[in-house]
Amino acid sequence: MNTLMTRGIQALMVAVLIGAATFAMMRALPGDAAYRIAAGRYGYDNVDTAAADAVRAELGLDGPALPAFLNWLGDLLRLDFGHSLVSGQPVIAEIGHQLGASLSLAAVAVLLSLIMGPPLGILAGLRPGGMLDRVLLVVSTGLKAVPQFLMALILILILSVQLRLLPAAGYGAARHFILPALALALGLAAVNARIARDAMARIGAMPFYSFAQWKGLSPRQTLLRHGLRNVSVPLLTYLGLQFVTLVEGVVVVEAIFGWPGIGHALVHAIFSRDVPMVQGTALCLGLGFVLINAVIDLVTGRIDPRRAA
């Protein structure tokens, strides 16, 4: 229960931090926010003082800072994000649209990385110093140094510009998933493989592992019964921490491939200073991290009961 408490406090702090950051953003915007919002709503040609005053009165942009901030936080904690300053739609509805697209992309990417990384890492870890281990070290170090946007660029150049195999952008069909998911998955797989390899090498060198083989289990049985479960604990923990990397990747990769997800929306919202949308999307991402890590805490506690105690 203690870990859940910690995660709960973390979630609360995330909300307060995002509230403070977006409030500062609102206050620090250069120029009169009312004019900016009015321009976003009615188009640049239709902005006049009356429109700006109407926006100012509607959103309460005047007034002292502290009550406004507390008000702001109160709304945030009641999950009342208000309406997008640009489209006028409720923020919750907009996020609901985009979250699905992002989640499916992230899920495909994680799945792909799990198919590629850990099996190779475990094979390499079974024979530390072997051929596969050395090749994997070089490949994963190289892949880790390639940021996701660069990976996306390279994949687009090779697979869609030169070979014309896949579409460079778009959304809807299954083949649109391949490039963005691959751009995210390769970097994740590089890290997954290293973690699986290190964990496997560490566990393979432990006395209990040799004992399992000595008592007559085949290498296969030893791996399945005694290896995998131990390897999965650090792997899952890292997967939770990688979620932040994944989200960063999603923000950039969605912007590159024109994916209609939450990251794309966030970049646009920041660009057009749509503070309620920034707040909603940022909170969604931050709380997502906390939630996923809370689940992973529980699952690793189940897999390895020694940690829960």
Binding site: I9, Q10, F149, L150, L157, L266, I270
Partner: protein, 270 residues
């Protein structure tokens, strides 16, 4: 968790030297390149747009007829300079706050840890984007945002190591002998955390350079005509067929720089 899976490898030192050489090569290109071949990263000559290498422009010209060599050199000065300033600020803040939290314990420790944990849950790029929207000036915004993101790692490392050191009998003996906190820090804590700090600094610099390039690439970072790695790539992407070398130069430079920093940091998986 992080250092539990460390297994020392004999190849580690050679890899570190390779990394240092790669970073040094990028810095030499950035600092000495423009001295060897004088030129202006902003001067345009539309007649030469997308034409190949020549003595005055060893990497050819971009779509506006600007020398790619000089733009690349300027970009390789800009990002590492911002990154190193941010890492320095973040390192000092993390070091100070981490030692403070570990030494004071109690509520100081608890509040700082909660703050760090909450920041850890937010994607770094997101924080940088928000700070960029608040702080006037892109370079200043990147510095502030990246410092805000990067101090957490330094804080966590320092705090964990310092707590362990402060609880050791050696520190207790030092205190009983009457030495002050400055002495304890210098002789006991710093030697313990210095190697970790170097690793974290190399990783932090790589993260910062990546972030600047990534945001530049999606048009929300540095503004044109500033020569910046990500911005150069996205500008030259449409001309890939006409001038592949033009696009490959910033791509290879970025990759070499990041690979060098990762290798320099050593084999710690994050």
């Amino acid at each position: 968790m992080t250092d539990a899976v460390m297994i020392p490898r004999p190849a580690g030192l050679a890899l570190r030297w390779t990394g240092a050489a790669l970073v040094a090569a990028a810095l030499v290109l950035a600092l000495i390149g423009p001295l060897a071949v004088p030129g202006d990263p902003f001067a345009q000559s539309l007649i030469k747009a997308l034409s190949g290498p020549e003595p005055a422009a060893p990497l050819g010209y971009d779509h506006l007829g600007r020398s790619i060599f000089h733009r690349l050199a300027a970009a390789l000065r800009l990002s590492p300079a911002i990154a190193m300033a941010a890492v320095l600020t973040a390192g000092l803040a993390g070091l100070g706050l981490g030692t403070w939290a570990a030494a004071r314990g109690g509520w100081t420790d608890r509040i700082l840890t909660i703050l760090a944990d909450a920041l850890l849950a937010l994607p770094g790029l997101l924080l940088v984007l928000i700070v960029l929207a608040i702080v006037p000036g892109t370079a200043l915004g990147f510095w502030a945002g990246l410092s805000l993101v990067l101090w957490v790692e330094f804080f966590r490392l320092t705090r964990a190591a310092t707590r362990a050191v402060l609880a050791s009998p050696a520190v207790q003996a030092t205190r009983l002998l009457g030495f002050g906190p400055v002495y304890v820090f210098r002789t006991h804590i710093w030697p313990e955390i210095a190697p970790m700090m170097l690793t974290a600094a190399a990783f932090g610099t790589a993260t910062a350079i990546m972030a600047i390039a990534a945001l530049g690439f999606v048009h929300v970072g540095m503004r044109a005509p500033t020569p910046e790695l990500g911005l150069m790539m996205v500008e030259l992407l449409p001309y890939w067929r006409e001038a592949p070398l033009a696009l490959l130069s910033p791509v290879i430079a970025t990759f070499a720089l990041l690979l060098g920093l990762t290798l320099l940091a050593g084999s710690r998986d994050t």
